[in-house]
Amino acid sequence: MRRAVIATAGTVVGLVALLGYKSSGAVNVQRVSVGADPSGPPATTVAPATSAPTTAAPGGKTVTTAGPTTAGPTTAGPTTTGPATRTYDGQLVTYLYGNIEVAATLDGHRIVNVTVPQNSAVDGRSAMINSEAVPELVQEALAAQGVNFDVVSGATYTSDAFAQSLQSALSAAER
């Protein structure tokens, strides 16, 4: 399986690369041209990861199921790791406009759910921004598993802190 998910490899830059693939050349992004789109320039949207055969680890047991059940590339990781899902809490990251803590649920090496146990803002305006930004960052984190960007330009305060906390959650998963 060439497209091994390497969420546990500690290979992180930015939010998207955080969840990206190491394999070179594998391009899993689809450009969707948008005609008269009122909300911005033509977007390069993340296509769902091509479904791959799921290999059941011998003797593995699923403890809990969390998040979407879309079939994604399943890594043939270390044989000691079964497909059981486990949730790892990231560190509470303080940034200019608030605090955020991200938790990642992994099925083997694959991220199946991302939650935000803590998210506080310094003022109403920041809270409003976060109320829009955070759910979308969660979706982005899940979708990004199919993208292999090394780095993303245009990150902002909330997304920086989100990525930092998510990274620490994934680092915890490595230990």
Partner: protein, 273 residues
């Protein structure tokens, strides 16, 4: 982890540092030595530590929030330019230069005080990148809150794959780029709303949602992206005339524009692998 220790794989060391009001991420790639042993991790750590130390020194020196910072003492007239450190004098000269090069749209004096923040971040990351190169790590990416300096390559036979965040639709990208040695700076009004002031009118720049500039180094790429955002509708014309820089502009009305060179850097998608 077996895919990381394969002979062809490069080692990757990542470090996040909260500095200058954002998160700076260092991503250092090292080619696997011929004998198959991993490269000395402490060498990477020491180089990153030196670069991080530099960024914190810059933060302290140029902080407009700390009363006693050198930039504030200079601004209050307590310190003559000649008595400032070489770095501050360099930034001062750079601010004059950029003011001229951008027709006044990059203006460190726009807020009735000297505030070089618009150039300090890009410049300091550029220097941090040079520290890593000098330490023997020519292959790396440094991401300062979405402004990026790319050096060398990310792995054998690979280009840096860079996503440009869509200014309005999260989870979407307005470009996917394949880059070698380059700097990518994005200045936008998204998330925090308008935060760039048009120094000519004194009002917040609201015409454009975002500007992305690709250039040979981050100091000017970052300043040009900021200046172009302030220019509004005139930005494409100005950006198109810049030698050695490519750009993409997204207007608030939803129109996108990019230079021909920018389009050439956009990677072939789906089915090209």
């Amino acid at each position: 982890m077996s895919e990381l220790t394969a002979p062809s794989a490069w080692a990757r060391a990542v470090h996040h540092e909260a500095v200058m009001g954002t998160v700076v991420t260092f991503d250092v790639r090292t080619a696997a030595p011929a004998d198959g042993k991993p490269p000395p991790a402490e060498g990477v750590a020491a180089a990153v530590e030196a670069a991080v130390g530099w960024l914190h020194w810059v933060d302290t020196t140029f902080s407009t929030y700390q009363y006693g910072s050198e930039v504030n003492r200079f601004d209050r007239g307590e310190l003559a330019a000649a008595d400032c450190c070489a770095e501050l004098r360099h930034i001062l000269a750079l601010c004059h230069e950029l003011h001229g090069a951008t027709g006044g749209f990059f203006d460190a004096w726009a807020t009735a005080r000297f505030d070089p923040s618009g150039v300090v971040k890009g410049w300091s990351i550029e220097q941090a990148s040079s520290i890593l190169v000098a330490a023997g790590f020519p292959d790396h990416a440094i991401d300062g809150g979405g402004d990026i300096r790319l050096r060398g390559r990310p792995g054998p036979g690979r280009s840096w794959e860079v996503g440009v965040r869509h200014p309005r639709r999260r989870g979407a990208y307005s470009a996917a780029l394949s880059l070698g040695e380059a700097a990518v700076a994005t200045s936008g009004t998204y998330e925090r709303g308008a935060h760039v002031i048009n120094p000519i009118t004194g009002r917040p720049a609201t015409e454009l949602a975002s500007v992305t500039v690709i250039g040979p180094e981050l100091t000017t790429a970052d300043a040009y992206a900021t200046a172009a955002l302030a220019m509004g509708a005139d930005a494409p014309g100005w950006l198109a005339d810049l030698d050695g820089y490519e750009a993409q502009v997204a207007s608030e009305q939803g129109r996108g524009w990019s230079t021909a060179g920018f389009k050439r850097l956009e990677r072939q998608l789906l089915g090209s692998s």
